[in-house]
């Protein structure tokens, strides 16, 4: 047998002693953060797929974006500032809970949620005022699909933050030792933020240059 269910004096015994009574599922170190990061690597590659499509079509096109579908830069730039700074704000919440400060966590997460909602509202306003739609031409196809897909991720991140806030109402749900959920929402939010920086560079700045 590769292994036996015994332990004897020749072999290190701590294994059996520490794990022998750990019958229940979940009696292993918390791996959820690692799982989330693995998932986000995969999720990020879906964006890479969309970005690649955008860049290849950009390289092949005579004019990119075509004349009737130029992008607006001011509003997205404001949105970028809001989203990037919200990543710092959410980290303050994480720092607070590591010191056991639930009120601080709630304060910073509420501000983050408001900034996220502002970003989404700004994006909706941008869609309504651009003057062209999803089906206008290949550029607008790419533009709406990619920014929309990112917007969907902001929306999911917002729900995660609201979920953390909802759970934090319960006394002692989060504390100095128990805050994996808080951390995961934060990591997801950073992911959304990083993707936006790439997206803003590729779709907005490259299109204006």
């Amino acid at each position: 047998m590769q292994g036996t269910i015994e332990s004897n004096s020749d072999l290190p015994t701590p294994l059996v002693e520490t794990h022998g009574d750990a019958i229940d599922h979940g009696e292993h170190p918390d791996l959820r953060v690692l799982g989330l990061i693995t998932f986000l690597c995969s999720e990020g590659l879906m964006f890479v797929g969309f970005f690649t499509v955008f860049l290849v079509y950009r390289a092949a096109a005579a004019a990119w974006p075509p004349e009737e579908t130029e992008v607006e830069l001011l509003l997205p730039a404001i949105n970028t500032v809001i989203l990037v700074s919200s990543s710092f704000v959410i980290h303050l919440g994480d720092t607070a809970i590591k010191k056991g400060d639930v009120a601080g966590l709630r304060k910073w997460y509420i501000i983050t949620a408001l900034m996220g909602a502002t970003f989404l509202a700004g994006q909706v306003y941008e869609y309504m005022t651009l003057g062209y739609g999803l089906t206008t031409n290949l550029f607008s196809n790419c533009f709406y699909l990619t920014t929309g897909f990112h917007g969907l991720h902001v929306f999911i991140g917002l729900i995660l933050i609201l979920g953390v806030l909802w759970r934090s109402r319960r006394e002692g749900h989060y504390g100095t030792e128990h805050h994996v959920g808080v951390e995961m929402a934060e990591i997801y939010w950073h992911f959304v933020d990083v993707i936006w920086i790439v997206l803003f560079t590729l779709i907005y700045i490259l299109s204006v240059l």
Partner: protein, 552 residues
């Protein structure tokens, strides 16, 4: 515990266990129909569900072969033929081989092999299984809307102009199956990385786990790109975009790149776990240590890496520029090398061994022969100069059935015969298993070998009607497919009957050395009373174990 106190396995079962309050002592039959988070239940759920889809996909194949017995279109209407053609491929890949090998064997075996009580994320694992159920329902439901017509590759413009509703359902089904695959893969990576028993180093891990690690990395990297491509296709069909419409600046070849960036690695998703099964079955039944442990382990990673850069060999005739053809011909030839390393290692493992010719080993040896043949025709196809002549002919169909049926399905059978005693606690009937093997081996070769000749003569694939000059060989193929259909009967009878009536299996009926054989057959709910400790390597056959085992 001292040596004297060690319980035998029978006593282990007899000792009243004290499971945590939310677990029953033993799963009942109806637990297999619920959202159960035990990796063993999920593994069996995957295996049984995917086997049902295998039967459905197989019936579609038989119907197509019946149609192809004569040159005219007389048995199926051409539209139904197209729908069967599309969904046969889709079901066999996304609802049989991938879920059976990764979801089924992977879930059942990985925690047992590394000495864990479950996967890292049991609930996510159950979710990944249950996501495949609506995927299967969407595929079956699409037949009410005519069924997707454009082949499993769904190239635009065909996929944009035919059977829009069914095609959209097909896309959603594949995206769901892909989601399941991503969730399962991240679970495997974290489990194998972090949850091995502390006494197990990376190079003491059974090779099946190495294969699952490589498979999972590959699935995580490639699946999202397919999801992106299919999302664009879904928008083109339903929301008026023009990503793949050349009239409006789009490009159909873009879809092919996105599709094959996933779907070539998907070939490795379907064979790497099978290679893992081979690396377990062959040393056990050859009674010899595996030859070249590290070579086999690292070649899985090499296939995973190189396999990401060969996809354009599916597109040599898609207006691909010559420099690209040369690059991808070379990378395709390179990816054959790590596969060859594995083949030679298995042959060397068997060399001079005390081989047991039981059903599991017969299928494993059968796989070696079939896969070498399919691999060689694959090398010819990977060469651009040759591919230009046989692209989209039956030569391609013959090739990929040798690797997918002769490779993946033979490997799944080998795994089923090998681990059935562990999964059910019962032994399968050996004579029936041998009949099953002989019929399968003859049927496979009769069905798929003549296709190479048909392809060289120029018979195009994917078409219900053909030139009368091809009829004789087509009838041979159809005859072979009937043999293949019949070959399933002894297996089904064997598996169903043995599940309740077969002889009781011992904990370790094959005298194997990997950890899954240290627990009861079938394993108890949390896998072990006390977690096992490694005392020797996973393939240390013919070497005296350091200490007599507790439950052999």
């Amino acid at each position: 515990m001292t040596q004297a106190e060690l319980p035998t396995s029978a006593e282990v079962m007899a000792i009243p266990t004290t499971p945590p309050p939310h677990h029953p002592e033993k799963w009942k039959w109806y637990d297999y129909f619920t959202f159960n988070i035990d990796h063993k239940v999920i593994g069996i759920q995957y295996l049984v569900t995917s086997f049902i889809f295998y039967l459905i996909g197989g019936l579609m194949a038989l119907a197509m072969r019946a149609e192809l017995a004569t040159p005219a279109s007389d048995f199926l209407s051409p539209d139904l033929y197209n729908a069967f053609l599309t969904n046969h491929g889709t079901i066999m890949i996304f609802l049989w081989i991938v879920p059976a090998s990764i979801g089924g064997f992977g879930n059942f075996l990985v925690p047992l092999m590394i000495g864990a009580r479950d996967m890292a994320f049991p609930k996510l694992n159950a979710l990944a299984f249950w996501v495949t159920v609506p995927a299967g329902m969407l595929i079956m439901g699409s037949f009410f809307f005519g069924g997707a017509q454009s082949g499993w590759t769904s190239y635009p413009p065909l996929s944009v102009v035919t059977a829009n509703t069914a095609q959209s359902m097909w896309i959603l089904a594949i995206v769901l199956a892909g989601t399941s695959s991503i969730l399962g893969s991240l679970n495997f990576i974290v489990t194998i990385w972090k949850m091995r028993v502390p006494s197990m180093a990376w190079d003491q891990m059974p090779l099946f786990c190495w294969a699952m690690m490589a498979t999972s990395i590959l699935a995580l990297v490639s699946t999202p790109v397919l999801a992106a491509g299919l999302t664009l296709l879904l928008f083109d069909i339903n929301f008026g975009t023009s990503f793949f419409d050349p009239a409006k600046g789009g490009d159909v070849v873009m879809y092919q790149h996105l599709f094959w960036f996933y779907s070539h690695p998907a070939v490795y998703l379907m064979i790497l776990p099978i290679f893992g099964i081979m690396s377990e079955v062959i040393p056990v039944h050859s009674r010899k240590p595996i030859f070249g442990y590290k070579a086999i382990a690292y070649s899985s990673l090499a296939i995973c890496l190189v396999g990401l850069f060969v996809w354009v060999h599916h597109m040599f005739t898609s207006g691909t520029p010559p420099w690209m053809r040369i690059f991808f011909t070379i990378s395709t030839l390179i990816v054959a090398v790590p596969t060859g390393v594995k083949i030679f290692s298995w042959v060397a493992t068997m060399w001079g061994g005390k081989i047991r010719y039981n059903s599991a080993m017969l299928f494993a040896v059968g796989l070696l022969a079939m896969f070498v043949f399919g691999g060689l025709s694959g090398v010819t196809l990977g060469t651009a100069a040759f591919d230009l002549h046989v692209h989209d002919t039956y030569y391609v169909v013959g090739h990929f059935h040798y690797v997918l049926f002769g490779g993946s399905v033979f490997g799944l059978y080998a795994g089923l015969y090998h681990w059935y005693p562990k999964m059910t606690g019962r032994m399968l009937n050996e004579p029936l298993g041998k009949v099953h093997f002989i019929l399968t081996f003859i049927g496979t070769n009769l069905t798929f070998l003549p296709m190479h000749q048909l392809g060289l003569q120029g018979m195009p694939r994917r078409v219900a009607m053909y030139d009368p000059q091809f009829q004789a060989l087509n009838q041979l193929c159809t005859f072979g497919s009937i043999v293949l259909g019949i070959s399933l009967l002894p297996f089904l009878a064997n598996a169903i009957w043995s599940w309740s009536r077969g002889p009781q299996a011992a904990d370790n009926p094959w005298d194997a050395k990997t950890l899954e054989w240290t627990t009861a057959s079938p394993p108890i709910i949390e896998n072990w009373e006390v977690l096992p400790v490694l005392t020797e390597g996973p393939y240390a056959y013919g070497e005296e174990p350091a200490e007599a085992s507790a439950n052999t």
